[in-house]
Structures are given as C-alpha cells and as structure tokens.
Amino acid sequence: MKLKDIIEALGLKVLTAADRLDVEASGGYTSDLLSDVMANSREKNIWITLQTHQNIVAVAKLKDLAAVILVNSRTPEAETMKKAEEEKIPLLGTADPAFIISGKVYNLLGQKE
C-alpha cells in the first residue's frame, strides 16, 4: 500500500516532506528506543514513535524508512522538522497513542509482514 493512501485512510497530518509520499510501505515498526529501531526496523517500514528528537530523522534515513508517525499529537522540535525537510523524511502526526495507531496501520499493512 502506498504511503499517501495510508495517510488518507488514517487521517494523518503531513508535517514534512509532502513530496515523498508516493512510496510503497513495507510494514510497520513501533519502538521508542532508537537503538532498537536501528537494529530491527526494515526498509520502507513506517516507524511509530513518541520520540521527537532530531536523531529520529537520521535513523529514518539510515534505515531507509518510508515515514515516521509521531503519536499523541507530539510536536517535533524545530530542528527535527528542519532536518526532516532537508533529508526528505515524511514526519506524520496523529492524536492516537502508539497502540491504537499501530493497530490501524497493522490492519492496513499487517499481512505484508
């Protein structure tokens, strides 16, 4: 499923890199330990986290993730937004907590993992 269709289906707010949404998502990964995400996420995963530190952008780039969903209406720090725009990493916002949004993404993509 394309990232842009997931965004539409779940009503996610596009915070950065609005021109990078035409990409096929490979599944999801939910974690707030960046070291764990570096070890265990897969290419083109949608990463679900509450971390808003600028390092999330570097991890997403390093692992070639499709997007990062920030839960609980968390607003990224200005530096994080700037870096995500520069590195073309879509940051997406939702008011849902991690459990709920993970379930919703799973329902759309779960069969792929």
Binding site: L34, Q51, N55
Partner: protein, 243 residues
C-alpha cells in the same frame, strides 16, 4: 602539584527511590574511603537534596564530594550534571523540579529519603524522581553548562535510559563533556566500542554500598574539583585521565 585522584563520579543515595536505604551519607563515605576513592559524584535521580549531608559526612575521610544530579531528559536519556558549587546544583534542581511531573508512589518505586550527615531523616521527598523531565537533552546540557557544570551522558553501554540506547548515537552538535561506561563493560572494550570522539569515564552508578567503586576513573589533577576534571577531559595544563 598534580597528583592522581581516583573518582567514582556516579553514585546514588537513599534519596533515589531505587537506592537502598543503607546508602546513608556516613556509610557511603566510609565505604568509599575503604575503596581508596578520592572523589565522589553524588548523583541522585533528578535531585541534589542529599549532597549537603554527603559533603559533611565525607569531610573526615578527606573525600571530595561533587554536587551532582542525574537528570532524565524528555527522551529518557540520563545525564549527569556535576558541580563544584552547591548553589549551582540547586539552581539546576529548581529548573528540573519545575519540569518534573508526577508524585512518587513509594510502594511501586521506593522511599525517597532526605537525610542529614548522621543519616537522620529530615524529610521524605514526594516528587516522582524516577520519572523523566520535560526538558530536552540539549536543554539539559545547556543548563548544566550555563551553571559551570560538567555534563556526562550516563551508562551509555546500557540499553535503557542511555544516550546511545534511547537516541541510537550521539546527536550532532551536542556539547556533552564525556560519555560514562558502567561496570558491566570492561573499559578497554568500551574504548573500542564507543569511539565517538568523546572522553570516556567509568563509574559505578552504585545503588548499594557494595557497588561503590566497582568502576572508577583516575585523573591527574591539582584538586578534586569539577573545574580540574574539566581540564583533564580536555587534556589541558597537564591534567588528564590516567585510566
């Protein structure tokens, strides 16, 4: 004259909810003295309140006690702030307290006991000291430096609550003074593994008496102060880390 100082820059007291009640000032000072420690960094979670008692209790043992605090940032990264000035440490504590939500549940997390140098209970701290502040890591480091303190990332070899565990790697442009390795990683292994261009220190992160001094860092210094340790970390004016 420069001489060697053996430092354990990270220990807790009975004020930390996870610290054993046996961690009273006199017992800590006596144990540190038995282990030939010259400098102790007293770093309770998000609080400085037992430092005055430790300084008092450590005097007869000729141990220099640095006023410390282990701040939990918004990202749940633990950072040590170490100060020569007690006032500076309390100033940082005031900011941390303003950004530290919640109340301690003693059954769940443990007692948080503020004591005098004799180990007598002065009061019970009710803040949720085990919790995370709403200050970003960068802000915590800035605050520590603005008060002339030393900012050290705690136990980076641990997965939880460490700079590397929480954030994957050392963020760009962060002016952290050193990275701390816990006793679980042999120092030589740590030097290979955590070769990020920052000085490495080893400390015990002791929560129990027997853990004090399980890992230490020896410095060549003129005096047991934060100002001198800063010079040693930057290898200035003959000061340095010995091992």
């Amino acid at each position: 004259m420069l001489k060697a100082f053996r430092a354990d820059l990270h220990i807790h007291t009975c004020l930390s909810p996870c610290g054993e009640l046996e961690m009273s000032p006199l017992s800590i000072a006596r144990t540190a003295s038995e282990k030939s420690i010259d400098i102790l960094g007293v770093c309770d979670h998000n609080s400085v309140e037992n430092v005055p008692a430790l300084r008092e209790a450590a005097k007869p043992f000729k141990i220099d006690v640095l006023a410390g605090i282990e701040v939990a940032s918004e990202e749940e990264v633990h950072v040590l702030g170490l100060f020569d000035s007690l006032e500076a440490a309390f100033e940082l504590q005031a900011v941390v307290y303003d950004h530290l939500p919640g109340e301690n549940d003693e059954e769940a997390f443990g007692l948080q006991v503020v004591v005098n140098s004799e180990g007598e209970v002065l009061r019970i701290n009710k803040k949720l000291l085990i919790g995370a502040s709403t200050l970003t890591l960068e802000r915590v480091v800035e605050l520590i430096h603005s008060l002339d303190g030393l900012a050290i990332a705690s136990h980076i070899d641990r997965e939880g609550f460490s700079l590397i565990g929480q954030l994957g790697f050392v963020p760009e442009n962060i002016s952290i003074d050193a990275l701390e390795v816990s006793p679980r990683t042999p120092f030589e292994e740590a030097q290979r593994k955590f070769n990020f261009g920052f000085p490495l220190t080893a400390s015990s992160d002791a929560h129990r008496l027997e853990e004090i001094g399980q890992a230490t860092t020896s410095f060549l210094l003129q005096a047991g102060t934060v100002a001198e340790i800063k010079l040693a970390l930057q290898k200035e004016r003959g000061r340095k880390i010995l091992n």
